[in-house]
């Protein structure tokens, strides 16, 4: 059996009560293999970020459970780190780049002072911010701030990185280089990555598997294995026939799902 490292078991979630009660996720199940790069895509409002927060232990599922390894997730587990879309809020303005990167490690209480010092330097180097390590975060561009957040997350040696639309707020050029950085780190460090995005091209380019969520009914619309060779190349990969095939297929899945969803919402 391909080991199901993370198992999402019929997770449901709704917001509000009574009349205003709104179903967000309806009995969603899927496994995640260790070491895979899985993107979750879907139209906005389909609950993909909520799904990720539930996996991260930041929100509770109304029903169902998330199993990591063989333990139920009921609080943010030490083997996972969640990377926020709003990196500018997530990194701390009163700390320098280096102090920010140390922050996660210090709270884990797993490393000695000198290990923290050394490892934070390595991570800052790895994301290409060594020359800016003593800057405060407001002195950095958006893309650099997200690098700080990535370095801070990876410094904790997580097995799983949960990324919530991490590059949606940076410009296209920066997004490309951050995508390649994440792919590079994923290969080097043997991480498992769950990546939420609404950008189909980004999902195909990065992932070994793409999960599509429906807006209505609120469940899994598709689960597609992306059979493209790694390392992915900025210029050649998107030109591969298979890349275009997956892209086409996913667009169809999403638009079909939207059509079904709209008609169902009208009927309801």
């Amino acid at each position: 059996m391909a080991d199901n490292y993370i198992q999402v078991n019929s997770v449901s979630k709704h917001f509000g009560v009574g009349e205003a009660r709104k179903m967000i996720l309806n009995k969603i199940s899927f496994p995640i293999e260790k070491g895979s790069f899985v993107s979750i895509i879907g139209p906005s409002g389909c609950g993909k970020s909520t799904m990720l927060q539930i996996i991260a232990g930041l929100q509770e599922a109304a029903e169902g459970e998330v199993i990591l390894g063989n333990k139920k997730v009921d609080a943010p587990p030490f083997d996972m780190v969640y990377l926020f879309q709003q990196y500018n809020k997530s990194i701390f303005p009163w700390k320098t780049v280096k102090e920010n990167v140390k922050f996660g490690m210090e709270s884990r209480k797993k490393w000695s002072k000198s290990e923290i010092e050394q490892r934070s330097n390595e991570m800052i180097e790895l994301v290409g911010l060594y020359d800016c390590r003593d800057y405060y975060t407001h002195q950095l561009s958006g893309g650099m701030q997200q690098r700080v957040a990535i370095a801070r997350a990876l410094a904790c040696e997580p097995d799983v990185l949960l990324m919530d639309e991490p590059f949606s707020a940076v410009d296209a050029m920066t997004r490309g280089s951050l995508q390649d950085l994440v792919l590079d780190l994923w290969t080097k460090l043997g991480l498992t990555i769950l990546f939420v995005t609404h950008d189909i091209d980004e999902a195909v380019y990065l992932s070994s598997r793409v999960i599509v969520l429906n807006r209505a009914p609120r469940n899994l619309a598709a689960d597609v294995s992306i059979d493209l060779p790694y390392p992915r190349e900025r210029l050649t990969t998107p030109e591969m026939p298979n890349f275009l095939k997956y892209r086409h297929q996913l667009y169809e899945e999403i638009f079909d799902a939207e059509k079904r969803g709209n008609s169902e919402e009208i009927m309801a």
Binding site: A56, Q86, W94, S107, Y136, C156
Partner: protein, 249 residues
């Protein structure tokens, strides 16, 4: 010439002009009253008081009281502000109490404070602490309330305990607001120390001003008031410097 009107110099010149106006109204006999000495004689008395050291003695007593009260208020205000801002339970528990006591002008407590604490420092420190407590509490509270959920969740995803989240995330996030409260309270503290010393004291700058008036040493009275202006200004300058150093982002 244009530069002059767009610099701080114009403000300084206005003050010089007003002082000269004061001087002339007296020297040219436009206002003739023993209650209104010329500004030159006020400055002369001020100089004498500074040289003799009396002014610093009075000021010392006042500042001691003020900072005792202010310090107590700062510690309690920040503590309860964090508590009420972060834990809903404490908000619902304490908010009605705060809203009942907050609108009462602190000088209204003077008679009670005298009954229970006497005429000495305890009474004054209590009044100063009470008056300066509320701005610090409310600003700390609103600072905590403005902390973004993303910042709190960042702490959670890195496995911080709820105490660590308060200490390492909420507190630094709220620091700019806390400083706003502390700065407002600095001015209120100065007001309260003067009031309490005018009610009952045998030293302090408030006592000094009142005493000068009662003994017809009118220029000393004005000198005392000027001293308050100077010290208020100085405290604010020091405070803003400190704030810029701590809240550097």
């Amino acid at each position: 010439m244009k530069k002059l009107w767009h610099s701080r110099l114009s403000g300084v010149l206005l003050i010089v002009f007003l002082l000269l106006l004061w001087e002339w109204t007296v020297t040219f006999g436009i206002v003739q009253s023993p209650s209104f000495p010329s500004i030159s004689s006020v400055f002369k008395s001020w100089g004498t008081l500074i040289v003799s050291g009396e002014l610093f003695q009075q000021l010392g007593s006042s500042l001691y009281r003020m900072f005792m009260g202010y310090f107590i208020a700062a510690v309690l205000g920040v503590f309860f502000g964090l508590l009420m801002g972060y834990y809903r339970f404490f908000y619902f528990l304490l908010e009605p109490l705060v809203e009942i006591f907050r609108p009462i002008p602190t000088p209204a407590y003077i008679p009670i404070a005298i009954l229970f604490l006497g005429l000495e420092n305890e009474m004054k420190v209590f009044l100063i602490a009470t008056a300066t407590f509320f701005p610090i509490l409310l600003n700390t509270f609103s600072g905590v309330r403005q902390v973004d959920q993303v910042q709190i969740d960042t702490g959670r995803t890195f496995g911080l305990t709820s105490g660590e989240i308060v200490r390492k995330i909420i507190l630094p996030c709220a620091i700019p607001h806390i400083f706003t409260g502390l700065r407002i309270s600095l001015g209120i503290g100065l007001i309260m120390v003067v009031i309490s010393e005018m009610v009952a004291a045998n030293n302090g700058i408030g006592y000094f001003i009142l005493q000068a008036q009662r003994t017809f040493e009118v220029s000393n009275m004005y000198a005392g008031i000027f001293t308050l202006g100077a010290i208020g200004y100085l405290l604010n300058v020091i405070f803003v410097r400190l704030e810029r150093k701590i809240v550097h982002w």
